[in-house]
């Protein structure tokens, strides 16, 4: 499985790879934590903040329905934000590392 021609440890210590790793970790964990908290606000709110959820906002449409719908919007927004960032930034950074490797300089 392992390819003897590639020095993986060298790539790992390559500053470009380290930069990619740092950016990705920060970004992914941020989105993951935010989305998990936002999701669990729904069952918690529906159970313990019923008065808020029952407040009518738009005709018969109450806060609870809007909040449930917002869960969908937030999920889509996270997907959109992540794909933008990954397409524009992470992919280019990874490509640079691959290019360096093909040129034979991983340092």
């Amino acid at each position: 499985m392992s390819n003897p021609n590639i020095n993986w440890a060298a790539i790992d210590t390559n500053p470009k790879f380290q930069a990619l790793h740092r950016k990705k970790t920060f970004f992914l964990w941020g989105l993951m934590v935010f989305s998990t908290i936002y999701y669990f606000l729904l069952p918690i709110g529906a159970a313990y903040y019923q008065d808020l959820f029952k407040t009518k906002v738009w005709g018969v449409v109450n806060f609870g329905i809007l909040f449930a719908l917002s869960e969908f919007v937030v999920a889509w927004a996270i997907a959109f934000v992540y794909s933008k960032k990954a397409n524009a930034e992470f992919d280019a950074m990874a490509q640079e590392i691959i290019n360096d490797l093909n040129k034979g300089s991983t340092r």
């Binding site: 499985m1 790992d12 529906a46 719908l69 969908f72 999920a75 959109f80 992540y82």
Partner: protein, 695 residues
């Protein structure tokens, strides 16, 4: 070989078609069944053509398991949606919304949010590291034989639980929809699914899933347009008319019981859009939410879909598409469910199927013009056929996942030490698919009439407590090693299964017998009660386990009036039969007045229907009494649940993670450390990832 294949498939299809002759009662009326079978026939023909086409290009292992890694991101997105939107989510959630309003919709949110985990932490690394199975990912830096064995066992466990739930649910559903016998439905689903998988491998399975997802989404959009258009696509306008509907208000009153007495009709209607009619235990919901959010990313049939695309970028695209389709679909269920509650009526929906599964199909029938119209029945037939395609497609994906674990991980990886020729590997894959398929059919038939509700919860809980911690920590934690993976997966699986076995999901004979006796003998009168103050729970553990000396929290109870005795089934029947004979006696006298005659005839039809419903309940109660006679405890020897949550995720998921971490910290594994650099660089850059086969 191909001509015999076609002959065999044709005869299978005919066997299926001829089962129409044995069909009993279902939601589709007898005179319109031919339409359902025609739509079925067309769908079967299309999917068989796909299988034939796919079979011609499925020769290598990569083609069989991963469709040659040539599925595009968009195609894979549709296929993931097809794999994920099972009959439970298609019919079940619309049904829950139609019966319980807001809570049903809230329930659907977690199924979409789950894909954020898939998108952010699982899809791309898996594509870059994996080959065909979850076992491949884990074996990358851990001991291959040990981890592949554990991963395969876990994959087969999760797939079998989910598969059984799908098979039993599907069999019951087809019976309710078109009245085909349960066993014939299971065999029909099994034969079709086997044809797709064995001959067409992943390529056929993928395209069957795409076809099904497109049909499902199209059908839902059409129904929602028909429901919503009369209100000019205004959300408050539409929901305003839902809450003003007497059927909806009646349903809420029924759910609330005594509390409804002091509410105005407007308040009752509005209550339908408020939380708390179905989901009563917030801790249970959080536990289920955890299992969904972490379990989906550990589902082997979902993981496997990421091996079918050419690059990590395509894997990303496919999750984005899947999220758009799945999320869009769940938003539509809000309209399908509330539309069915308003137009069809909750009472009618529940009378066909107590769980509400028929809400969508009945809504289609209503929108097309009702029970006796051609278009109404065509639409019902179409939705029924889509439901059938749904079951087959989901089952095919699961069988392929279980078969790959059996053939690729166990046979090729462990038994043959990765030394099988490509030809042997494909043969092993086909044989394993056959074995899993036959097991699925057998288990499906054996589980007839069994309570399988816990199996879906169990599948997600095991995936979240065993698969996800192992995959996640292998990919992201340098110190993770073989011992940790094995310990975590075993403890995660055993805890999840163990807790479900002692949970309220199981059947407890005492409760069933008490319920049956209530139906047969009625309930005695209860004296009026004074107001009760609120009670606080004794400790948090009491929310989770039925410990000695536990006091559960209870809100303050207002004083209640005396409750009258409820009659038993025999007494009810006698009363109804007396009413029926009075009405029938009146008929002759009313012959001169067509208006009154019509009304009397309607009343007679209604009483007859009520009698049938009571007789059905009576027969079921008698059946239950016979079935559980003399039993006092569940399979596990319990009289009542010891673990109080329906989903074990809250305990088993943290435990699974903890065990991987502890196992890894207390042992050293040189290979796992040495391979870390390679794994981490490869998962982030895609260097050396499995390439697509050129076509």
């Amino acid at each position: 070989m191909n001509s015999t294949l076609i002959k065999w498939l044709l005869s299978a299809a005919m066997l299926y078609g001829s089962s129409a002759a044995f069909a009993g009662n279902g939601a589709v009326a007898d005179e319109f069944k031919w339409m359902t079978f025609t739509v079925f026939g067309v769908i079967i023909a299309v999917t068989m053509a796909i299988t034939y086409w796919a079979a011609r290009t499925t020769h290598t292992t990569s083609e069989f398991y991963a469709a040659g890694r040539s599925v595009s991101g968009i195609q894979n997105g549709w296929a993931i949606a097809g794999d994920y939107l099972s009959a439970a989510s298609f019919l079940g959630i619309a049904g829950l919304i139609s019966l319980y309003g807001y809570d049903g919709f809230m329930y659907s949110v977690g199924w979409l949010v789950a894909y954020i985990t898939v998108l952010l932490v699982i899809a791309e690394p898996c594509r870059n590291i994996g080959k065909y199975t979850m076992g491949d990912i884990l074996a990358f830096r851990n001991d291959p034989k040990k981890t592949k064995t554990v991963a395969a066992l876990s994959t087969i466990t999760v797939s079998t639980f989910y598969l059984t739930a799908q098979m039993v649910g599907g069999g019951v559903l087809i019976k309710t929809l078109i009245g085909i016998d349960y066993e014939i439905s299971i065999i029909g689903v099994g034969i079709l699914m086997l044809a797709y998988v064995v001959f067409g491998g992943m390529k056929a399975t993928t395209w069957v899933q795409i076809t099904k997802a497109v049909l499902l989404v199209t059908a839902s959009i059409i129904l929602v347009l028909m429901v919503w258009a009369p209100y000019g696509f205004s959300l408050p306008g539409y929901l305003g008319s839902v809450v003003a509907d007497p059927d909806v208000q009646k349903q809420v009153a029924k759910l609330l019981g005594d509390k409804a007495a002091i509410m105005t009709p407007e308040e009752l209607g509005q209550r339908f859009l408020e939380p708390g009619l179905f989901l009563k235990n917030p801790i249970d919901q959080i536990s289920l939410g955890l299992a969904l959010v972490f379990g989906t990313a550990g589902m082997p049939h979902i993981l496997m879909r990421f091996f079918t695309v050419p690059t990590a970028q395509a894997a990303r695209t496919s999750v984005i598409w899947a999220m758009a389709i799945i999320g869009g679909f769940y938003v539509l269920t809000l309209f399908l469910g509330t539309g069915a509650a308003m137009l069809v009526g909750s009472e009618k929906i529940a009378s066909v199927d107590a769980g509400g599964n028929m809400a969508g199909p009945l809504l289609a029938q209503f929108l097309g013009g009702g029970e006796n119209s051609m278009l109404g029945n065509f639409m019902l037939a179409f939705v029924a056929a889509v439901a059938f395609a749904t079951i087959v497609a989901v089952v095919a994906g699961l069988v392929l996942a279980a078969a790959s674990a059996m053939a690729h991980d166990i046979y090729v990886g462990v038994i043959r030490g990765d030394k099988a020729t490509p030809k042997e590997q494909v043969a092993a894959a086909r044989v394993a698919s056959g074995i899993v398929g036959v097991i699925a059919i057998t288990v499906g038939i054996m589980a007839k009439g069994q309570n399988v509700a816990h199996l879906v919860a169990l599948a997600f809980a095991v995936a979240a407590s065993s698969n996800l911690p192992a995959v996640f920590l292998t990919l992201y934690w340098k110190k993770c090693n073989t011992t940790g993976i094995i310990l975590g997966m075993i403890v995660g699986t055993v805890t999840a299964i163990g807790l479900v076995m002692i949970s309220p999901n199981m059947t407890y004979p005492k409760a069933v017998i008490a319920g049956a006796n209530k139906v047969l003998n009625g309930e005695p009168a209860l004296p009026a009660k004074e107001a009760q103050p609120a009670v606080e729970r004794s400790s948090f553990m009491c929310e989770l386990f039925a410990l000695d000396g536990c006091v559960l929290a209870k809100p303050a109870q207002p004083a209640s009036a005396e409750k009258l005795a409820k009659p038993g089934a025999a007494e009810k029947l006698a009363g109804m039969n007396a009413k029926l004979s009075t009405l029938e006696a009146m008929l002759a006298a009313l012959a001169a007045d067509p208006g009154m005659l019509q009304k009397a005839q309607d009343d007679i039809a209604k009483v007859k229907k009520d009698i049938a419903a009571v007789e059905k309940a009576k027969a079921k109660a008698e059946d239950d009494l016979k079935k559980f006679e003399g039993q006092t405890s569940s399979m596990m020897g319990l009289e009542k649940p010891f673990f109080l949550l329906k989903n074990p995720g809250l305990i088993s998921i943290p435990l699974g993670f903890l065990m991987v971490i502890l196992g890894s910290l207390f042992t050293r594994d040189k290979r796992a450390e040495d391979m870390w650099d390679e794994l981490y660089v490869r998962q982030n850059t895609g260097i050396n990832a499995e390439a697509a086969t050129a076509h």
